[in-house]
């Protein structure tokens, strides 16, 4: 394959992921996550809990020999913990070379939300809103778009503030 051809496919791939969001439901609310972060969606697995973790880190799972942490998005968003059910899914995301599983109530669909249809979140200071980078509209529905990087890094700042 020639250099330009390869570049084109790369661009195509990049292009096909642009503005695409995987939507999922947590506590009746619809959220969206940029598709480029998502590696796969798996059903609920046996979770091994790790001591001394914050509540929202449920533990670790064995993903085909790779051990990754899983985070309960309900608890992460300060909603009450709910026992897992048949529809509960784990979305495996890859954020800055860290693999992590996000436990959600259910996965909905992949939607296209162009940048023009994304509005800034109304109130950044409210707890639980910290992870929202924008509010998107697709097919007349409102989706809260997640800031993936914050999901991982915000914890540390939070820890510092609490101490």
């Amino acid at each position: 394959m020639s250099e330009t051809a390869r570049n084109d496919t790369l661009l195509d791939e990049e292009d096909s992921q642009k503005d695409k969001y995987l939507t999922f439901i947590v506590d009746g609310e619809s959220y969206g996550i940029e598709i480029r972060y998502v590696t796969e969606i798996i059903g609920l697995q046996k979770i091994t809990s790790v001591p001394d973790m914050p509540d929202f880190v449920r533990g670790i799972i064995n993903l085909r020999g790779k051990i990754i942490p899983v985070m309960d998005m309900r608890v992460r968003f300060n909603k009450p913990f709910r026992e897992y059910m048949e529809r509960t899914c784990i979305i495996v995301v890859d954020i800055r070379d860290l693999s992590i599983g996000l436990i959600v109530d259910s996965v909905a669909e992949v939607v296209n939300i162009p940048a023009a249809a994304v509005a800034a979140p109304p109130d950044l200071t409210k707890r639980g809103n910290r992870f929202i980078m924008g509010i998107g509209q697709a097919a007349g529905e409102v989706k809260l778009l997640l800031d993936c990087e914050k999901l991982l890094t915000d914890e540390e700042t939070e820890q510092l503030l609490n101490n």
Binding site: T48, P51, M53, P54, N62, L98
Partner: protein, 691 residues
């Protein structure tokens, strides 16, 4: 320059040159230690510089090549004039400066940067030293110079280099020799065999063509004759002493007569023994190969997967409880082979500590010079082998400990004399195998640790959580490893670069090791580092608590037993202890510590496992033992580690059925328990353990 990393020639150059530079450093230090550069050492250094020069200029790293060239000249002079120069120490300093320069440049190259250092300062020094040596010798010149040529012949050595576009450099060299040979009384060249040796072309390209000759003609005439050679890029002709000429012309060779000039190619001469350099490399290629560490890591990972896969098959729930004679037999066979592969892979990764230890020579030397202390470094057991990854992790801590020992541990010469000790302080670096682990001792015979000072400092920094009177000397000394103990007050050039002993401890803990210290006032201090032989696969005992599975390294387990209620003692704070053979051990309930639901709570229902490390022990209360097996240690995910909250767990492993088991960190559990805390991890212990 473009990034050459991954290019085999470039990699080979880096590895080879790094090795040579390392050899050179060792050689210099050894010579300095012996107080003189022996003739062999000078030859060896000359040879090394020669090779470095050749390969560096081939790779177009002109600064390295130029430096090597200058040093080569220097040693070529020393080689020809065996009388010793006055100042060996100056020479060693200079050589080490050169070594450092080369190391820095090689490091730059390895990290993908251009080798752009300026060697001219060092080269200038080398030239000046050479001048000085030459001048210093003028008076006794000929007398010191071995036998005067008695046959009226001059001896020259000509070095010819050919341009890059020159094809078949060996043929050009042959032509040059051919047209000159009538005028020469005797000659010899490197490489020896020009036409028969398939390597000759490559050798000439790499290191030039050297022609040693004995003749009655003048130097100018020789130069003129040789400069007519086609494709010539560079020509040097210098006069040499008959001694050097004879050395380049071993009698055995002479007897065989000048080489096959008259035979046309290919003569197929079997005895055309290649010169020393070629023979060395050829020999080395047959017995060892160099492998990229990444590949070994991958292989190790694969073997880890294999061990897990094997457990998945042999302990498959589908066949549990079935009597399958043939299957069991085959499974045992498989287990045996897996174990052997694993052992072999481990063995491949084992590296002797010698290189790491020898680096300390250099540190001790530099520091003792700067600080004006007389220090001897003794190395014991440097052939002890540990896993490659572990070596990387302990080099820095060791360097730190050695620096500390020289700087703080050892007294000045005056103080030593006053204390009636020999003026030279001795630092001993000792390694020994001790079952599944390696012990490394860093011992000095200095003033010892200041018990009072440590206590005062710990108090001032609020690190003391127990009454002084309760603490043994060893426990007090151990305080220096607490975070926040070392401060920047005592910065000297070498110790205390903002790195405290707590960092040393952390580094060692990272590879599953421990460090302890003992000291006697006036007699010295010993640091003892215990590290596991390998990290990747350990023998573990799997245990169950409620639904959760844990693995305990078998090396830490002393025994397991059922407790009797009457042996259990509970203190007023609710801490449980058990008397075993007259000794009292604290009990740690895993279900309580890790808040595992469904764990057995009655001490009579479960099992107690007595775990021990560093002369401290505790009994873990668990539901049941599941059995012993080899487990592959995996780190907890980076995200979990970053939260930095996990205590008492050092990693995790996959069991045969794919479930995850957490590997308990006995050292961590002991530390947690140390403060008397026995419930789940509290603030107090947390501060004590890691700050």
């Amino acid at each position: 320059m473009s990034d050459l990393r991954g290019d085999p020639i470039f990699e080979a150059y880096l590895t080879e040159t790094a090795q040579l530079v390392g050899q050179l450093e060792e050689l210099i230090l050894a010579c300095e230690h012996a107080g003189a550069f022996t003739e062999e050492a000078i030859h060896e250094i000359f040879r090394i510089m020669h090779t470095v020069k050749g390969s560096s200029s081939m790779m177009q790293y002109h600064n390295i090549a130029a430096l090597a060239h200058a040093l080569e000249d220097l040693f070529s002079y020393l080689r020809d004039h065996p009388a010793r120069p006055a100042n060996w120490s100056e020479l060693s300093d200079l050589m080490l400066e050169g070594v450092d320069f080369a190391k820095v440049e090689l490091h730059k190259l390895r990290s993908g940067e251009p080798a752009d250092g300026d060697a001219s300062v060092v080269i200038g020094k080398v030239d000046r030293l050479l001048d000085a040596i030459k001048r210093g010798r003028i008076e006794g010149e000929d007398a010191a110079d071995g036998p005067v040529p008695s046959d009226g012949l001059y001896r020259y050595v000509a070095t010819l280099r050919f341009t890059e576009d020159c094809q078949m450099a060996n043929i050009r060299a042959y032509q040059a020799v051919f047209q000159l040979r009538d005028r020469l009384a005797d000659f010899r060249h490197i490489p020896e065999s020009l036409l028969d040796d398939p390597e000759a072309d490559a050798v000439i390209r790499r290191q030039g063509f050297q022609l040693f000759m004995a003749t009655d003609r003048s130097r100018d005439e020789i130069v003129e004759a040789l400069s007519g050679t086609s494709y010539l890029k560079d020509l040097q002709v210098r006069e040499i002493a008959p001694g050097e000429y004879a050395r380049a012309n071993p009698p055995a060779r002479e007897a065989a007569g000048p080489e096959t000039m008259d035979n046309g190619p290919p003569a197929g001469k079997p005895d055309g023994a290649p010169n020393r350099e070629i023979r060395n490399t050829a020999g080395a290629h047959q017995t060892t190969i160099q492998v990229n560490v990444d590949k070994l890591d991958e292989l190790m990972d694969l073997v880890g997967e294999l061990v897990i896969a094997e457990a998945m098959v042999t302990q498959n729930p589908d066949i549990a409880g079935l009597q399958l004679g043939q299957f069991q037999k085959a499974a045992r066979h498989l287990q045996k082979i897996t174990k052997e592969i694993q052992d072999k892979v481990m063995e491949i990764r084992m590296v002797p500590l010698a290189t790491t230890f020898q680096r300390m020579n250099r540190i001790v030397r530099d520091m003792s010079k700067k600080l004006g202390k007389s220090v001897a470094l003794r190395l014991v057991g440097e052939e002890t082998e540990v896993d490659k990854n572990i070596i990387e992790h302990i080099t820095d801590p060791l360097m730190h400990l050695v620096r500390n020992a020289v700087d703080h541990g050892l007294e000045t010469a005056d103080e030593r004399a006053a204390a009636g000790k020999p003026e030279t302080g001795v630092i001993t670096l000792e390694a020994l195998n001790n079952g599944g682990e390696v012990l490394i001792l860093v011992r000095d015979d200095g003033r010892g640790l200041d018990r009072r000072g440590i206590l005062d400092k710990a108090k001032a920094r609020e690190l003391l959580h127990r009454p002084e009177a309760d603490m043994t000397d060893k426990e007090i000394f151990q305080l220096i490893f607490l975070p926040g103990f070392s401060t920047k007050e005592e910065i000297t050039e070498y110790s205390g670069r903002g790195v405290g002993m707590d960092v040393v401890q952390q580094n060692i803990a990272q590879v599953g090791g421990t460090i302890t210290v003992d000291s006697r006032p006036g007699e010295g201090t010993v640091f003892m580092i215990k590290i596991p032989l390998t990290l990747a696969i350990i023998d573990g005992m799997n245990i169950r608590v409620g639904d959760a599975l844990y693995t305990i390294p078998t090396t830490a387990i002393r025994e397991s037993f059922k407790a009797k209620v009457r042996d259990i003692i509970t203190d007023p704070d609710g801490n449980e202890m058990i008397m075993v053979r007259g000794e009292c051990h604290p009990i740690l309930r895993i279900h309580k510590l890790f808040r595992v639901p469904g764990g057995r709570t009655d001490i009579r229902d479960g099992v107690l496992i007595m775990a021990e490390q560093d002369e401290r022990s505790l009994c873990l209360f668990v539901d049941e033992l599941l059995g012993q097996q080899q487990v592959v240690v995996k780190a907890l995910p980076a995200y979990i580690r970053r939260l930095n909250r996990v205590r008492g767990v050092s990693g995790c492993t996959l069991l045969g059925d794919g479930s995850i088991s957490l590997i308990l960190d006995i050292q961590g559990l002991l530390n947690m328990n140390h403060g008397g805390e026995n419930g789940h991890v509290g603030d107090r212990t947390e501060r004590y353990v890691a700050g």
